[in-house]
Amino acid sequence: MPTIVIDGKEYEVPQGENILEACLGLGLDLPYFCWHPAMGSIGSCRQCAVIQYQNPEDERGKLVMGCMTPVQDGARFSITNEAASSFREFIIESLMVNHPHDCPVCAEGGECHLQDMTVMAGHRDRRYRGLKKTHRNQYLGPLIHHEMNRCITCYRCVRFYKDYAGGSDLSAMASHDHVYFGRHEDGKLESPFSGNLVEVCPTGVFTDKHLVNDYTRKWDLQSAPSICPGCSVGCNTSPGERYGKLKRVHNRYNPDINGYFLCDKGRFGATYVNSEKRIPAVGRRSKDGLFDAIDSSQALTDIAKGLSTSKVIGIGSPRTSIETNFALQNLVGQQNFCTGISETETALVSACIEAIKESGAKIPSPREIERCDAILILGEDVTNTATRIALSLRQAVRNEAFNMAEGLQLQSWQDAATRMLVQDERSPLFLASPHATQLDDIAEGIFNLSPSNIAHLGYSVASLIEGKKDDAAKKTDANDYGNIAEALLKAERPLIISGTGVTDTSVIKAASSITSALVAKGKETYLSLIYQEANTLGITLLDQGQGPSLSNIFEQGENNSIQTLIIVENDLYRRAAKHKVDKLLQAADQVIVLDILDNETCNQADIVIPASSFAECEGTLINFEGRAQRHFPVFESKHPCRPSWEWLTEIGKISSNKNMLEWQCFDDINKACSESSSTLTGINEVAPDRKYRVGGRKIPRQPHRYSGRTAMVANLSVHEPKQTDDTETPLGFTMEGHSGDRPGELIPFVWAPGWNSNHSVHKLQTGSEGELKGGRSVVKIESKKLIQSKQQVKSVNQNNDQDHFIAVAMYKIFGTGELSSQSPGIIELCESESIELAIEAADKLGVSNGDGVTAHGVNGTVDLEVKINDSLISNCVGIIQGMPGAANINPGEGLSLTRSENWVRRSEIISSDQLGGKNV
C-alpha cells in the first residue's frame, strides 16, 4: 500500500484509489460533488481541490483535483492549505450564485449534500446581489418531483441515468447558465431506476414525489433496517415513517447486493402500507358480504377450537417471512401445509434447485454478477422480474472497458476517459427471449425464440462447449450459437441467467447443462436463477416438497374433506383459476384469512385477521442466492394488525400445540425454525437477537435531537409521550442509544457529524464500495444443503398445433406484484390486464390494440384486452402475470384464441373517467 503525506501526516492508502477516495476512507473531510463511489470521477465540479507538492522542499505546491489524482507512494498533499480551502469556498460561492436561498422549503433540506458541503467549505455570506437564473420545472411522472432551480450542474444525474443505468430520456440541455437537466418534454421518466436520482442528485432537484406531497424531514423520520419485499433480489432498504405512515424508502448500503442503488418498485412500491385497503380489524364476513368487527380473543379461541376437531389445511405464501410460514406449518402440521405457489411455478422452482445442486456452478451475488465477463440470459426478463440485477448486468458488460482502460494504465474510476476510450465496446451478453427486453441495447446477440426453442438453444450451446459438434448441435446452430459458446469459453467468469419467469423447466435444465459443461472445462462458472417473489426460495426450502400441492388442496376441497382452511398473506385468485378457488373456498366450512390488504380471497373468508406489513414486523426472507436476511419493524402500526407469526402462535398456544407453547417472541420462532431442518440452520444468525446491546444500549430508530422531543402531539399536549418499549428487537423506538459502528444489518439510517445526507455512509465503510466497519453477517444457504421438492407435477398439456398459441408469462415491474402495485404513484404506472399478441396473430384474428380476445384453455375461457407487441414471436402470446384474469391461464399451455364479439373497448366505456388529473 502506498504511503502518502496529507498535511504533514503519513497515511497508508489503498493502491489504485484517487486522493478524494483516499481522504474519505481515512475519515478526513474533503468536499466534493461530481464524484460518486459507484460512478467514479470526471473532475468537473472542482470542489475537491487540494494542494499537491512536488517534494518535501516544495512549499508552494499546485492545485489539483483530489478525485482526478491517483495516489502514489510518497506523494504529498494538503487539504487545509489556504490556497486550496479558499478555492473550495469560492467554488461553493459560485455555485450559490444561482442557487435559491430557501432551504426551509426544500425537500432536500436536512439531508442535503450541498448544505453539508457549503458548511464544510466554510462559505457563509453570499456576496452576489443580482438576479438569479430561474427555470421551468417539468412533470416527470408520478414518482419524481423536479425543481430545476436547485441545480448546481454537477452532472451526476445524467451520468447515473444515461451512463450507469442506460436510460435515454434525461439529458443535459443548453449551455452556460442555461444548463438544464430534464426531458425533451414533460412526461414520465422511463428508466426503472429513475428513483435513484433522488439520492444521486446532491441537491433538491429530483426528490421523491410521494414524500414531497406529505413531507417529513429526515431528522423527524423513524427508520429501521429493512429488506425490500418486491422481488427475489432482496435489496436492503431503509424505510422512514412518521405519524404512523410510511413516508419513503431509501437505499441501505449492502456491498454484496444493492450497493448504492434500488429499483423503482423497491423505492416507490412500499407505500401500500398506508393504503385504505388495510384490513381494519379482526372481522367476520357474513354471507351477504358485510364485515363485522369481532372480539379478537374470542375469534382466536373459536379458531383454535376448530383446529382440534376438524381437518385443517394451511396455505402459506412466498411473499411473507419464513417465520410466518413456519408458524403456519407448525400449527397445521407439515402434511397439511401448502406453499400456496401454483403447480407450474413449483415445478419451475424445483427445476432451479436441481440445477443449482447439479451444475456445480457458483451462485453470484449482484456484486459478483458485475464482475462476470460473458453472459447468457435464457428467457428470464430480468428487468421486470429482478430489476436490480439488470443494473448489475449493465455494469458487467463494462468489464471489457475496464480491461481496455487497464491496458492504458487508466484506473477504473477515470470515468470520462474510460468511456471515451472504449465507445461501444462491451463484454459479450447474449439474450434469448420470446419478446424484446430492456437489455436488448447492450446485447451482442439477441435470439427471439419460443421457450422450447430457447431450451434447444441452451442444449446446443452446452454441446458446443462440450465439443460435441455433430450430434445435438446441428450445422446451422453451430454457426448461430457458436459465438455464444466461444464467448463463454473465452471468459474468465462466464455467467448463465435463467429463472422461473420463462415458464419452461427445460430452459432451466438447459441452463444447468451449459453451466455443467463450463464447470467441466474448469471454468469459474456462475449461475443465477431468478424466482418471482421475495421468499419463493425460502418457503420452498421450508416445505421441502412434503406438503400438498395447490391442486391437491383443490381436490381435497372437491371431496369435501377440508373443514377449516387458513390462508396466510396469499390472494389465491392471483394463483389459480377462479372457478377452482371459488369451489375450494365454498367447500371449506370455515375459511380464515390473515392478510395485509383486502383482496378477493378476503372477500370469500369467514374470518379476516389483519396482518402487519413488512414495515411493521420482523421477518426473515431468503433471496435468489439463498441468502437469508432480516427485516425489522420500522414503526408500530395504528391498525390493530399484528405479525402473522404472532397471530398464528397465539392460536397454537390456545390449542395447546406442543411446539408452539414455548414460543414467547420472534427470536424463539426463528430459532425453532433454524433447528427444524439442516437446510435452514443458521437463519437465526442473520441478525443479532433482541438481547443485543452496544455498551448496554439499544440502537435508536430516530436521529438524535437535542431537545429530545418529537413534538408529534404538541398540538394536544406539551408533554412528550413515553415511547413504546421494543422488547422484540435490538432496536428502540427512540432517539437515544448507541449510534456508532454497529453491524450492517442493524443500521436504520445513515448519519455522521457534518454529513447529514446519505453520503455519510462513507463514514461507516472501510473505503468506497467496501465493507461496513461494524461488520455484517452473511448467511447463505449452501447449495449442497438444498433439498429438492419431490413433487410430481403433471405436465401441462401443450397444444402445439397450428391453431394454438403458447401462453408465455410476461412480468411487469409495475403491475405484477400484488402489493407494490397498490402503492400511490405506482398505481398510475401499472399495466392493465391484457394479452400481448404479435402483429401476425392479431391480423389473423382481426383484432387491434384495445379489442378483446377470448382465450380458450384448460380452465375454460377468459376475455382479455389485446395489446400488440411487435417483438413477440408469432406463435406465442404474452399473459401479464399477477392479475386475476391471467390466473385462469397456465403459462406454457396451448391456447386457442377467438375475437371477442361482446368486448367493449375501454375508450368507449366513459371517456371522462380517463381524464384523471395528472399530479404536477
Partner: protein
C-alpha cells in the same frame, strides 16, 4: 409512420441521407441534420426534434441536448433575417456597442428578440473572423464589414426589401 404536417420533407431527408453516407453511425450526423432542417424551416421546432431523432435512431433528449447546446441552432422561430452581430473584443474597440444601440433603436429589438413584422432577429456572436474589418455583422448569409450607422441603415433596408436570403 408519422404523417403530421411536420414530417421531414423529401429534400430534407435526402440531404440528411447524403450526410449519412459519410457517417460511421446514424447519430453522428445529428448536427448536420439540425442544420439542414433549420436551413429549410428557419428554426428547429419540438416536433422537428422528434422527427430527426427518430430518423437518426436517437432519443429526443439526446438530440435536444445537442440542439440546445449550440446557440446557432434556433429552437424558437426567428425572423426572415438573423443578424449575427459581433460583440467580441476587436469590434468592441471599434465601437460596436454604440452600433448595437443603433440597431436596437432602428428595429425596436434587443438581443434575442425578433421584430414584430418577423423581418429580423438580433443575435450576438463572439467573433465572425473578420477582426481586421471590425465592426462586422452578418445578415442572413452575407458578411458586412466596417460598419457605420449609415451602412447599417442601408443594409437593413435592403434586407427588409429582399426578404429571406438563401
Amino acid at each position: 409512420m408519422n404523417n403530421s404536417v411536420n414530417s421531414l420533407s423529401t429534400e430534407e431527408l435526402s440531404a440528411i441521407d447524403e450526410e449519412l453516407e459519410h457517417a460511421p453511425y446514424r447519430s453522428a450526423v445529428a448536427i448536420d441534420a439540425l442544420k439542414i432542417v433549420q436551413s429549410h424551416r428557419g428554426w428547429v421546432s419540438d416536433s422537428s426534434i422528434k422527427e430527426i431523432a427518430n430518423y437518426l435512431e436517437m432519443s429526443s433528449e439526446e438530440l435536444d441536448s445537442i440542439a440546445t447546446f449550440y446557440n446557432l441552432i434556433f429552437r424558437r422561430p426567428v425572423g426572415e433575417n438573423v443578424i449575427l452581430f459581433c460583440d467580441s473584443v476587436s469590434c468592441w474597440i471599434r465601437g460596436c456597442a454604440k452600433l448595437e444601440k443603433h440597431i436596437n433603436k432602428t428595429l425596436g429589438i434587443t438581443r434575442g428578440q425578433t421584430t414584430e413584422d418577423d423581418k429580423f432577429t438580433l443575435v450576438p456572436v463572439p467573433c465572425l473572423g473578420a477582426c481586421d474589418k471590425a465592426p462586422v455583422m452578418m445578415v442572413g448569409d452575407s458578411l458586412h464589414e466596417n460598419l457605420t450607422e449609415e451602412s447599417i441603415n442601408r443594409i437593413l433596408e435592403d434586407a427588409a426589401v429582399k426578404g429571406k436570403e438563401r
